[in-house]
Symmetry: C2
Subunit: 224 residues, 2 copies
């Protein structure tokens, strides 16, 4: 039986780094895909993507960086539209935060699926988290079941599977898994708004800090 | 009850023109979305898009033209990769033709869905054809059922519906419908490889010509 070949979506954040570490530990062939879509911290995330891929010695021809211009044009999210402020974390706010990018993960997965079809990869790994999340609808388990069903009809015969190793883990469990896999957590970047020192107050920082706190260890990246 | 607001995907070809004519006849609010993805006939299709939108007096702020760069980067199709020849039509070839762009329609629908969420549209209209098609998997009815299921979980509460008015029509029936709706068929462009006079031999030309032949009328666009 041949070794699975995975396209791993690597934003450069904690979750995608641990997902890559996990796929690497499975012994799968690894290709890394980084997607820019006009988000505020685009350049900083891209730097993190390359440092993480360097750590795993992913060769240049197995890294793809693409830009999804249409999300920037369409807007509708404070991650993209710099005239909308990024809210401070309010993890039980009920409503969707302004950082939600409408239908974003479908664009990311579609890019991964197109690449997978061309290079004959059979896994797409995405670090979506449901338990400790901002409540985005495209981080729900039902979303990934529906996307898998779409893959089954859109790429019949490709046996392409979406894998979500973190979906049901808490942020503390993700930090623990990352440490147990020796993932380069110090290379990751999660903050939604800053690029030198993480702000510590946006949803993404708050969730990340919660993970390290639960594990009782310090977060290795700098905060303001 | 409010009037539905539709995002209509308009490539500039026969099928998308008739789909727009159909949505217009329903009395729906219309927004038109044109997607470039590095295809050979990109500029000619964009011209057709604008001429068709002009015909229906779609104002500029309701037209969106986006470019999906990643499909060009990923390649894998003779529509994009100019080193691969576009095959002559062989409509019962069994295998997928080289013009298939891996997972393309998912990118198009994701763009439409993102725009729909931002402008609160509740219909996405796409001129996919199953009966007389090149056998692309993302033109099958099961694909649209799966995408609808994805929308239901990814945009809960948006009541966003994918509408495929042509899915079960033959090309002859599409030409007839277009004529009965006074659609500007002379403004459309379907050819996969030429931009001045249609080649008449690619899959797209062959299917289109079949439609006009079935209806017993001449195709109004120029052929080599």
């Amino acid at each position: 039986m041949s070794v699975p070949e995975a396209i791993v979506l690597v934003s450069g954040g904690l979750d995608s780094c641990v997902s890559l570490a996990w796929a690497h530990r499975q012994g799968w062939g690894i290709r890394t895909l980084h997607v820019s879509y006009g988000q505020r911290t685009e350049k900083r995330e891209e730097q993190a993507f390359h440092e993480i891929a360097d750590h795993y010695e992913v060769p240049a021809e197995r890294r793809l960086r693409i830009s999804i211009e249409c999300l920037r044009l369409i807007g509708g999210s404070s991650l993209i539209d710099r005239s909308m402020p990024v809210e401070a974390a309010e993890l039980d706010r009920g409503a969707l935060p302004t950082t939600y990018v409408p239908f974003r993960n479908t664009h990311l997965l579609a890019a991964a699926a197109s690449w997978a079809e061309v290079c004959r990869a059979d896994r797409i790994v995405i670090g979506a988290v449901y338990e400790d999340s901002s409540g985005y609808p495209d981080c729900r388990p039902a979303y990934y079941e529906a996307f898998q069903a779409l893959l089954d009809v859109a790429a019949p015969g490709a046996n392409l599977q979406v894998v979500t190793p973190l979906l049901h883990r808490t942020k503390g469990q993700i930090v623990r898994l990352g440490r147990s896999l020796d993932a380069p957590l110090d290379r990751t970047w999660s903050c939604y708004q800053a690029t030198e020192r993480a702000c510590g107050v946006c949803d993404s920082c708050a969730l990340r800090l919660k993970g390290f706190r639960e594990e009782g260890i310090p977060d290795p990246i700098p905060y303001s």
